[in-house]
Subunit: 189 residues, 2 copies
């Protein structure tokens, strides 16, 4: 699902995969460039050759998530009717999460990631637009909080701990739980 603005080379992708794997196990703050080098059997200098800093590396890690979210949010915003827009935003988000199952729980829960990403050029903006799309599904109070619960909950629950579930079934349950919580219509099977 990579469709990044900046092309990532195969060798850079190896570093990104190793980084995500270590973030998920040891959190962002617990992962050093040295550890990423060790994981791949190369020196820290080799990691530095591709990414000047941890912040630089994290930006590259997050790029596919940003690209996926942007497509999904823009597609939802282009639709008419707040229920239809919210439903499109929700299903699009679930698909981005399922395409990045190891990374999303880190981005959602890890304070180290939040700190580094606070100044990220796109992620904050896209998350706000996504939250607004879901919050507007109903005119009632508490829409932003409901959206926040559902987005965080889906990102955490779709992580490694639901690895044993069938992907189609998992997707169905994630979407349906979101629809219930947001008051969206659940299509009959």
């Amino acid at each position: 699902m990579v469709s990044t603005a900046r092309k990532v080379t195969d060798s850079q992708q190896r570093f990104l995969d190793a980084a995500i794997h270590l973030f998920a196990r040891h959190s962002v703050a617990g992962t050093s460039l040295q550890m990423i080098g060790d994981e791949l059997g190369v020196t820290k200098a080799a990691v530095h050759h591709h990414f000047r800093s941890r912040a630089d590396l994290l930006t590259a890690v997050v790029e596919p998530v940003c690209a996926g979210l942007r497509v999904s949010v823009e597609a939802a915003e282009a639709l008419r009717g707040r229920h239809v827009r919210a439903d499109r935003a929700l299903t699009g988000f679930v698909d981005v999460v399922l395409g990045n199952r190891e990374l999303l729980p880190v981005l959602t829960g890890d304070p180290g990631a939040a700190e580094l990403l606070g100044s990220h050029p796109c992620l904050g903006d896209l998350t706000s637009r996504l939250t607004a799309l879901l919050a507007e599904a109903e005119g009632s109070d508490g829409g932003h909080l409901r959206a926040d619960i559902i987005l965080s909950g889906i990102a955490c629950a779709a992580g490694p701990r639901s690895r044993h579930l069938d992907p189609t079934e998992l997707r169905g349950h994630l979407v349906d739980t979101g629809r219930r919580a947001l008051g969206l219509r659940i299509p009959r099977p």
Copy 2:
């Protein structure tokens, strides 16, 4: 809301508060005993005097959450009727979260915390029992996943980013979103 098995002295509590504050900002892996000492203007040895290791400290940090969860889960399990039990477990969980708003997002999302708590004597067991209570609300498929989404989502959303909301209103929205997602009855206001 502290009602720990082992009594915590006032000076130990100062260390625990400082630790939670640093965990929430820098994640568990990003927080050293040295940093906790620096935060309080004491030496690392002074921290060591109270807590032999990081694991020891984290266990003490988590103790009030365990105590609160135990009371809530046992109260729910003692009731008859799966909807009533699920509703009691949900509202009890929301109250534990609201009593530990800085810590709960860390416990939910931080891989460093998960790693250290994997062997914790009570938290894993209580979380399983809580999940089972919520999952059984309906007989349908996907109950455990729905419960996981709601528990993780509530823990994350009740953290610092909802600091601006009125506590009573916040509690109402957290409970109602859980009820919707789990198919529980929402009482009329």
